[in-house]
Symmetry: C2
Subunit: 608 residues, 2 copies
């Protein structure tokens, strides 16, 4: 018996755990005395009193008995009600044949993509949906859990009859979560579920059978396609553009639409307000129902979130589901549906058959967590943490991988959908990156019918600390450079002419350059004669920044206050027609821009 100094358990608890284990394993049958407290304390190297306290507690509980002048034994009561394993036990190893034929409900579809089991040992895990404890509101959830185990609260578990949810939780969802999404709901329009997955499952069970056609986003959530296939539904795979799912006549034949408007899964595209309106209009026109998966509602870093479809739906066509938060859903599994009372009543009956009810202790703990305002604080905290990470990822992508990848524009979310260089085999990139400690997510499983060579991958920020992001992207960039070394220009073989220090100064003073992107969006930069620089980013100049430029040796330097990690970086400048190319000191191409030429100065470039 050894104790673990690093265990979260107290010495007493550890001794108790080990003793109970030894008794369970039959080390101390009823006729054999347990070691004396003195002896056990010596063996374990703890104070005798620690062992005495454990023994006393177990005796008090009736688990052990102390027999006078003999010692401590396991009690008869503790053994009562157990089957003598020698009598009853069979090895149960015989294997029945033909199991496959006996199964009547095998889930259809491909196996889910699994992350490497040792993912957390990789230094750069850009994986979606993995969370470490630092993201979890440990102290607050502990407090909420403690309160949920109050005598009054436990009594309430049994007070409830039938299928009712914890009324305290329903009220908190109604008043604290739904208004964030613009949704007003009555208690009878809300059903608590075992995580968001059960919400999705109940909706599909209730609305879909083999007579139904369902339109889903493509790429989209694989588990939804699996559920639909299991129900024998027909599916329409509808593409996603930069405004979300495409709304056109291809949707006409569906009775049901499944969408993820907040941040589309997996591309993170936020559905535009206009698209939301046309989707609702289409649904009304064709008498369709809409399942709105709002599990990605959090974490808009740019602009305000759009209201949920459910909040815009005047006809009661939207079945909305979400969870407390993706981070909390992993460990606590509290989700909910908001829909018409008719739907909720029926889903409640289905739920009763499937799980009786979601664990009341977690329902009540969630209710306290919400009612004490910890939920709001938690979301603020997450927003800040994830926001920092997301920005670091965007900046690093823009710094190291500008030419190699195209990231889909998004208001936020927790992952970035990235188009890689088409000449790289994606599985090779994913595997080789993993060998170098960088985990990026392959995405072919998101497609209903994956193309021969999917050129996309995904990088997420839920499982990687902000300090590791830049380094991880830099290493990924090195790998991609290696894999595409024959594709891109290097300084040595660059077309055009490499400028001298004087020529650079001359070129940039008072110039405006359109760079390909900064942080994923196109950028327009004005370079002043005095060395200042002013930049506007995005199609609508959503972000503005200030910086400096200067020349040193034959290198052109830039440094921005907020962009590119605020660091100075020097480049060789090559002019090729109207194109400007920046090469890093090691000769690799870093960025491409176009010089803006005012009419009266059109000679500036023509000279070269």
């Amino acid at each position: 018996m050894f104790l673990d100094a690093n265990s979260g358990l107290s010495l007493q608890a550890q001794i108790r755990q080990k003793l109970v284990e030894a008794i369970t394993l039959g080390t101390f049958p009823p006729e054999r005395r347990l070691p004396s407290s003195r002896k056990l304390a010596q063996q374990l190297g703890v104070a005798r009193n620690t062992v005495v306290l454990v023994y006393e507690q177990l005796v008090e509980e009736g688990y052990l008995v102390s027999r006078e002048r003999s010692g401590i034994y396991i009690s008869e009561a503790a053994l009562k009600g157990r089957i003598d394993t020698k009598a009853g036990a069979q090895s149960n190893r015989a294997s029945l044949s033909h199991w496959r034929q006996r199964f009547k409900a095998s889930p259809a579809g491909r196996e889910p993509y699994l992350f490497p089991p040792n993912w957390s040992l990789h230094p750069y895990p850009f994986l979606e949906g993995k969370f470490d404890a630092s993201l979890f509101p440990v102290k607050e959830w502990r407090e909420a859990s403690r309160l949920a185990l109050g005598v009054r609260d436990i009594n309430a578990w049994s007070e409830e009859t039938g299928d009712a949810d914890d009324p305290m939780l329903v009220e908190e969802i109604r008043t604290k979560i739904l208004p964030r999404r613009g949704i007003q709901a009555l208690p009878e329009e809300i059903l608590v579920t075992v995580g968001s997955r059960q919400a999705m499952h109940l909706a599909v069970q209730l609305l879909v059978d083999s007579t139904i056609t369902v339109a889903v986003e493509d790429p989209g959530t694989p588990v939804m396609r699996q559920m639909l296939a299991q129900r024998g539904a027909s599916m329409i795979y509808q593409p996603v553009d930069e405004e979300g799912i495409v709304v056109d006549s291809a949707l006409d034949d569906a009775q049901l639409l499944y969408v993820t408007p907040s941040h589309q899964i997996p591309t993170s595209v936020t559905m535009s307000l206009a698209r939301r309106q046309s989707l609702l209009a289409k649904a009304g026109e064709r008498d369709q129902l809409i399942i709105e998966d709002d599990t990605e509602f959090e974490n808009n870093y740019i602009g305000q979130p759009h209201p949920a479809l459910r909040s815009m739906d005047q006809e009661g066509r939207v079945i909305y589901f979400s969870c407390l938060s993706k981070v909390l859903d992993t460990g606590l599994c509290v989700g909910f549906i908001v829909a018409a009372p008719e739907f909720i009543a029926e889903a409640r009956k289905l739920r009763r058959l499937a799980v009786n009810h979601p664990p009341p202790n977690n329902q009540r703990a969630a209710a306290y967590f919400l009612s004490l305002g910890n939920y709001d604080s938690f979301l603020m905290h997450m927003h800040q943490r994830f926001g920092e990470r997301w920005k670091a990822l965007q900046e690093a992508l823009s710094l190291y991988l500008l030419h190699f990848v195209e990231s889909t524009s998004s208001q936020g979310g927790t992952s970035v959908w990235i188009q890689g260089p088409p000449e790289i085999e994606m599985s090779e990139l994913v595997n080789e990156a993993a060998r170098r400690g960088i985990l990026i997510e392959p995405v072919s499983h998101y497609y209903a019918n994956p193309p021969q060579n999917v050129s996309y991958f995904r990088m997420s920020i839920t499982s990687i600390g902000v300090g590791k992001i830049r380094e991880g992207v830099e290493r990924l960039s090195d790998l991609i450079h290696e894999l595409t070394s024959d594709r891109f220009e290097t300084l040595e073989h660059a077309r055009g002419r490499c400028l001298s220090a004087a020529e650079i100064t001359d070129l940039f003073s008072g110039a405006t350059v359109f760079w390909k992107t900064i942080n994923g969006d196109p950028a327009t930069i004005d370079y002043m004669k005095d060395g200042r620089a002013e930049g506007r980013i995005g199609y609508a100049n959503e972000d503005r920044g200030e910086g400096q430029w200067w020349v040193k040796g034959d290198l052109w330097y830039r440094q921005w206050e907020r962009w590119y990690f605020g660091e100075p970086l020097g480049f060789h400048v090559v002019v090729d027609g109207s194109t400007l190319k920046l090469f890093e000191e090691d000769g690799q191409l870093s960025d491409i821009g176009v010089l803006h030429i005012p009419d009266d100065e059109s000679e500036t470039i023509a000279r070269d």
Copy 2:
């Protein structure tokens, strides 16, 4: 804003809760200052420091901001990410038509029986499955929950990939729960579920469709029939006798059998060992699978429990499921399946579609609860509590309702299956009893095809304290006497002759009487000349007791050490042929016996 002195929450927590609520309701929009700590403290009648601490904490969390020389306001960050309800909100009150036609999976079967919602206000709730907090191991579960929220443990939630269960919990189930039932299992033979209900549901989903015939016990679990009907299965309703489900050729056409061997639901009959063996033999012969519902494994008060079918099954035909305990299942919903690895692998896939995974926090808490030996202590405690209650119920039934009801013999469980007087309409009895504060359970919903007049009802001990049981039964007895007043003899109109004191003494000295029952079983009592009495109860004399008898006035008294609550009770004695009748002082018939007449003393009775 008012504080509740009786709340389980601290004053600080209450103030925090109310403040957050007021902010949520819009009482303090961003532009409006919150009341000063001095003012709020005055209003609430608490120390100012209490309010200051709440404000400080909320400011630290970023929920509130303190503006210099102005006061405290809700922070912008706290409002960020919320939809302006005025902009987005719709009342969502429009109701879509034709909902009924859109549902593709309405649960078939009758609505479940619901207990009265105010059941806990009734003084005598003999209801199954309702538990008060006094039965729940509050302290131990709190400790286990606290440990489960350790940083290491939370990290483990995310370490897991895919569908794996908490390995700690699987190991604890394997080594601490299953051996009690005689079951040996490998980790890959175990699947954790969201309570026992999900275990049942997964088994049915996986094994049953409309091509399958399933044999179920009748009376039996209504929810199982509902699940089977939903899958379109054919059903065989098989009767239950005193050894459990009847095994005969009626089972031949089933591919699947569903049984509750430990304590049959709802009759509490324990399946005999012989019946278990013949059931397994039948399954082998007809290549059938068996679902063994062992949720009632606890609480044998008489004799040792039989090993689970799964432990006797040498062919791997048994799919076993259970939960930590019925008491814990209500609030925490931790259940599990034990079956062949092929079955578990497939059920795991189905589970992933339905709920992703059972809440990891509860899985880990259950694991700590088991590993610290608290589970064993808890079962001992329950066994004792429920045992006392069960015995009190049996004694009270025997004392007050001997002639009116027949209770099914059982080794224990938490309820008694009772046949009432056939001339009473059962719904009348249930309703009138409820009006008098006594809740007994009607049982027609347990029958697949309920007979016109079900003469059974059920009384359970999970929701009523031991001190209330006798009183409840006595009042129920009064009611039954009223409802059947025209049926039974009273002393006034008794057939036979009422004995005098001398005749009673003469009759009982050295006599042996067979009484109809004590505590539900037939009793044989020897009455000595010196006033001692020795009794044997049961078909095999399973229980023995000692007592006294005497005569006072014209009444015959008896008092047992352990039976009839150990109280002295006096009766008028009437002899009618060879039958002895005992009448209570108020004239109501209490017991009927037959005098054992040794051949050489056959004159004793003939005289009368």
